[in-house]
Amino acid sequence: MTGLAAIDHLLLAPVLLPLATATVLLLLGEQRHTARAVLDVASTLLGLAVAIVLLLRVDTQGPSSAVYLPGNWPVPFGIVLTLDRLAALMLVLAAASGLASLLFSLARWHRAGVHFHPLFQLQLMGLNGAFLTGDLFNLFVFFEVLLAASYGLLLHGGGAARVRTSLHYISINLVASLLFLIGVALLYGVTGTLNIADMAERLPHVPVADRGLLHAGAAILGIAFLAKAGAWPLNSWLAPAYGAASAPVAAVFAMLTKVGIYAVLRLWTLCFPETAGSSALYGADALVWGGMATLAFGAVGMLSSQQLGRLASFSIVATSGTLLATIGFGRPALTAAALFYLASSTLAATAMYLLVELLERAREVETDPPVEVAAGPLPSFVDARSAAEVNLDDQEMPLIGRAIPAALAFLGLAFAVGALVIAGLPPLSGFVGKLGMLSALLDTEAAVWGAGPAARWSLFALLIVSGLLSSIALMRVGIRQFWAPQDRPAPRLRIAECLPIGLLLGACVLLVVRGEPALRYLRDAAESLHRPEQYIDAVKAARPVVRVPETRP
């Protein structure tokens, strides 16, 4: 290869664009709110466009993944960025949920503290980098970037509750990062490389004497990822931290647990495929049973939570559990359905976190009498007049059956759609994902299963029961929010707050309407995940660009 087309350099954009934007945002200073907001939205939009272009490109390119050598060093020594279908999907998801959260924050939250916009861009940079990197130590660095940004974002808005949960969140993540380092060091010590593809290639040749060390390293690394993914019993930090975070931040955090899932999926399928000899499917049982315990914990947690915010957090835990358990079986059909479920539940959870704030705002009116707060720095968000005043008929009696206010109708509809997706009920995308998983679990023709039939049937039952539990929990909250209150003033919503929720839920609906191409894409993604040699060959085949010296005439 002697040169790269301009479009090949696009692979660097998901990392460089947020970094450059964050720098400019920092330089702009704290005072120029409008300029900062416009720049941030423009950059995030551009990031989403880049992610979609990359996704379409990787889809048409065929099985080989796109590889980019940022430092132009030969492969096992230099830094590698790789893009396959899974990474492209995660890029699009991160950009979409990021854009929605950002739009939502423009209504109020981005002024609630300093440096929201730069931190937000750095968060995106960390996410994108973690999805793109093909190098174990860079994965650590990008994890730290996204975690450092998330510490700042979690503290955004201030207050004792946020500071207290931040302290716990930071401590847990620092310990997990240390475990990450130990795991990386052990794997480097055994295989002598940090490039993931190179490592996967060398693993079958590791001598028997070193196998124990190798497995210990992989397990320690796995614990670090599982702690970030929110797997039971490492997830006690998740619900308080996500519940305390401000709404747009919690919505971005819905993506953070997926980074842990992504890392497990990427490393585990590459390093321990069925063909790996004595290490084949190492840790599959831990993933399957741990995932099921997480799913059960999440479902029970959803049922026990009184606040919608906590309920959304536990739904994230349940999603993580479902994904880990299905990944652990190591079957392409199951993984494809899990990826579909991942996409739809990420979008729905992001929308749910945004919705939580609007619903809580509507509820505050019930308990507290409306106060005139026009002079405050923040705009008041509810009609100061009660609805009983407005919503009277000729006899000055509230009219039952009168058209409900548009804002309430929007909230109700959005909540219903989000709940359907999260609980996995038909006709929305959560159902398609769950149905795919269930039918893949029923497929008895698959010759070898990573785990035994007991695990298969337990997961089958657990998926159905958890769906039931989460729909009960969501329905209960829905009744309390929308049907129980009698005369409640309609919450005043802003376009900036409704638009992202509408877009996210629209994307969930689109996933069903265009379900066939989406499923085809995800099946291809899962197929190539379970054929690691494609990824390894693509990375190994990458050659540095040789600059041909210009010959002067």
Partner: protein, 114 residues
């Protein structure tokens, strides 16, 4: 030398874990620092311990670990030190903020009730 390094790592990890599990925020901070020192030493030892060797391949000598020391763990340690320094500083800020907001240095912001 291996024994000395492993003992150092072991002692650091043991003290670090004990301190991280303590209820005071400052103890947790020191515990996290000790743990990160231990991890740094551990990474360093992964590249085979050697005294007085340069991480540079000399001309005329075979490029194996008998003749030079592996530079990659040293580079990793450098990165890890920088990152753990930054996160420790951040943790310190949050610690002080919690102290100011709740008037308590307990990790939960309030003393345990007996």
């Amino acid at each position: 030398m291996e024994v000395v390094v492993s003992l150092a790592v072991g002692v650091l990890v043991a003290s670090g874990v004990w301190l991280v599990l303590r209820p005071r925020t400052f103890q947790v901070l020191i515990g996290l620092s000790l743990l990160s020192y231990a991890v740094n030493l551990f990474i360093f030892s992964i590249g085979s311990l050697a005294i007085d060797k340069e991480p540079i391949v000399q001309a005329g000598q075979a490029a194996d670990l008998l003749h030079y020391t592996d530079p990659i763990p040293q580079a990793l340690v450098l990165t890890a030190i920088v990152i753990s320094f930054a996160t420790t500083a951040l943790y310190l800020v949050v610690l002080l903020a919690l102290r100011g907001l709740t008037d308590s240095d307990h990790v939960d912001g309030e003393e345990e009730r007996p």
